[in-house]
């Protein structure tokens, strides 16, 4: 289904200075990961009985998979709304998604205390069907697989295999690729439905799954734009401004939609009174709201003269907003009591940075060795 567009690999040297830098970070974090498995979680991280989930879950899993939702967000446009013109963007988005999800899976393994029992997630006899986390885990595992299957044509093309043969497989993958993220990205919000006592009322809401879902699609478009502009810049390729411009209305709708939902919830469940009850959380709340509001307004007012720089900044703000929203729900506004504190430790952060580096490294390798980015000359 992607054959209607032509892609090319970037013929450039692999071993650049940034590449070596990321490699170094990765090596350092590999050492820390080894220490984590030898000495236990408490040795490397600042997680505690009060904050059992730290930056690994919040950033690497929740935010990381949200960053990786470009593939999902574009698939909605291309396959459901039938906007075929976005097809050139799909491969690099799929790659980011596949990498984001795979490495989120990897950080879960690092984070799991009793990883040797992990196979239990695949045993239906052990499934607890009440558990939101079970659904998230199964969906993420399945979706990671789906993403790589969707990405298969890229490899097939590289090795000269007829892409047409894969079409049936990718068709199923596309359907699953639409359902699974809808399920688990909303459920990443549902995970904290159970935190009735610990999550601040400004964030705890029955709208959590919906707010997560809407913001993740928005983040998906934002990431697609950011990534497209960045790779155009760094690989000295033409900007895909004409496509990204067409993406902006969807971002505006989603941005305003999210804000409306956010305030509907506060009004409907009579939570406006908490808006100014805690100075720090109030600041975080308004920062979060502004990060959704500002790019929406600017995108709207600049809709006639959108430039690569503006698209980049606004999209980046959306991504930042979605990230902050996730951090707020998982760490900032979630509190086991004001006697508890948490801030990631040096080694804990290093592991996260290592995982990000690994993502960048694999991205660079694949982009330079496989036809992922749209061909500059071959566009029909």
């Amino acid at each position: 289904m992607q054959a209607e567009c032509v892609y090319e690999k970037i013929d450039r040297k692999l071993m650049t200075k940034p590449f070596l830098f990321f490699l170094l970070v990765l090596l350092a974090s590999t050492v820390v990961i080894a220490i984590r498995f030898a000495k236990g979680l408490g040795f490397v991280s600042n997680m505690s009985d009060g904050y059992p989930w730290g930056i690994w879950i919040t950033y690497d899993v929740v935010v990381g998979t949200a960053f990786g939702c470009g593939g999902y967000a574009l698939a909605i446009l291309i396959y459901i709304l039938n906007k075929r013109e976005f097809t050139p963007l799909i491969r690099s988005a799929l790659l980011t998604s596949a990498l984001g999800y795979s490495l989120a899976g990897f950080s879960v393994v690092v984070d799991l205390g009793r990883y040797w029992n992990m196979y239990g997630l695949l045993l239906p006899t052990r499934w607890n069907l009440s558990s939101v986390l079970l659904e998230v885990a199964l969906c993420i595992m399945a979706y990671t697989l789906v993403l790589w299957v969707e990405f298969l044509p890229t490899f097939a093309e590289r090795f000269g295999i007829d892409v047409k043969k894969l079409e049936k497989v990718t068709m199923v993958a596309v359907i699953l690729g639409l359902i699974l993220p809808t399920m688990h990205q909303s459920s990443l919000g549902s995970l904290h439905l159970i935190s009735t006592v610990k999550l601040s009322p400004l964030w705890h809401s029955s709208f959590l799954p919906l707010l997560f879902l809407v913001s993740v699609v928005l983040m998906g478009y934002g990431m697609t734009a950011v990534e497209s502009l960045l790779s155009s810049y760094s690989f000295k390729r033409p900007y895909e401004t004409h496509l990204l411009k067409k993406l902006s209305p969807y971002m505006i709708y989603l941005g305003f939609g999210w804000l409306i939902l956010r305030f509907l919830d506060l009004i409907f469940f009579e939570k406006m009174k908490y808006l100014f009850s805690d100075s720090f959380l109030s600041v975080m709340f308004f920062l979060e709201v502004f990060l959704f509001l500002v790019p929406s307004v600017l995108f709207w007012s600049d809709r006639q003269n959108l430039t690569p720089r503006r698209i980049f900044i606004y999209s980046f703000l959306y991504v930042l907003g979605g990230t902050l929203y996730r951090f707020n729900v998982y760490l900032v506004a979630w509190s086991p009591g004001d006697n508890w504190v948490y801030f990631p430790s040096f080694m804990e952060t290093l592991i996260t940075l290592g995982i990000v580096s690994l993502e960048v490294l694999i991205y660079l390798v694949i982009v330079k060795k496989f036809p992922v980015l749209p061909a500059t000359q071959g566009v029909k």
Binding site: Y115, S130, I175
Partner: protein, 298 residues
């Protein structure tokens, strides 16, 4: 590019988007408004529980020591390594005595903390691999090491901050009170803490009977007790019930204000609203397949 084909007006798109969002919104929020899970509000008569009367506790910590002995738990060493200086429930402390002192210093009260053995436990609802269980025969909430994957979602979910994790170990466990189900209870028919208590501050028995007892105590001594049994309804009810004196509120003793609907029921009603029937995913698959077919033909 295929621009020009399949042009959709903005209006059409908005319509679609709105209907989609509205339907998801409906599915996600409706159940929370309409359904309240009351399955376990009145637990069976044979479920165990404990009653802690803070007005009787003398703070001797016999229960803390007895619990450690019965459950073979290591001490939480202080800097000189001579005291078991746990200041909170930890992976090696399943029960602890804490003290509340009012700011003026005129009022104080002890409080014993351990797993509350919720009637509808959040940890059991949260655990993806059924490692947290509520024993149907006794109502005891216990942990299974052969299943636990160490995801710590139970710790996130528990409103009482009970399950604890062995952070310092390469092969850690989740640790929480199991009413001595795996240690003292089978042989002695009572939990270690209740057995040693010299003041009768913590008594073990059937939860429903203890609730009656608690209410009787309040009725007989209306001047002494706060007329409220903590755990009767909090979070859907708990197996361990608490009484406190008139001068000390349950908030002072560190108990959270939890709505009567259990966090588990709240979460499940919304989440299952979407998934329990399995209908929405299947419907979506059908709709998508139809859309894809149509789009592909064009």
């Amino acid at each position: 590019m295929k621009e020009g084909k399949n042009v959709e007006t903005r209006r059409d798109f908005l319509k679609k988007l709105f209907t989609g969002a509205a339907s998801v919104a409906a599915v996600t929020t409706f159940p929370s408004l309409s359904l309240a899970k009351t399955k376990y509000y009145y637990p069976p008569d044979y479920w165990y529980g404990m009653l802690y009367d803070s007005t009787k506790c003398i703070g001797c910590k016999s229960c803390v020591v007895a619990c450690k002995k019965a459950n073979n738990l290591p001490p939480e060493l202080d800097e000189y390594r001579i005291y078991d200086e746990a200041t909170d429930l930890t992976a090696s402390t399943k029960t602890i005595i804490k003290v509340y002192r009012s700011e003026k210093g005129d009022v104080s009260s002890f409080v014993k903390r351990q797993c509350m053995h919720c009637v509808d436990p959040a940890c059991v609802s949260a655990c993806p691999v059924s490692a947290m269980n509520k024993d149907e025969k006794t109502g005891i909430v216990y942990w299974r090491g052969d299943r636990c994957i160490g995801c710590r979602y139970c710790m996130i979910a528990c409103p009482f901050e009970v399950p604890k994790f062995e952070w310092g170990k390469a092969f850690p466990k989740i640790v929480k009170c199991d009413l001595c189900l795996s240690s003292y209870l089978p042989k002695n028919g009572i939990t270690a803490c209740a057995d040693v208590c010299p003041a009768g501050a913590i008594i073990f028995g059937y939860r429903n009977e203890l609730l009656e007892e608690a209410k009787t105590r309040i009725k007989r001594n209306p001047d002494k007790y706060l007329p409220h049994v903590y755990g009767e309804k909090e979070g859907g009810g708990t197996g361990v019930l608490y009484l406190t004196s008139k001068a000390v509120s349950f908030r002072n003793l560190g108990f959270p204000a939890i709505p009567d609907e259990s966090p588990a029921a709240y979460s499940e009603s919304i989440h299952h609203g979407i998934y329990r029937t399995l209908a929405p995913p299947f419907l979506t698959v059908g709709a998508l397949y139809f859309l894809l077919k149509r789009n592909n033909k064009e």
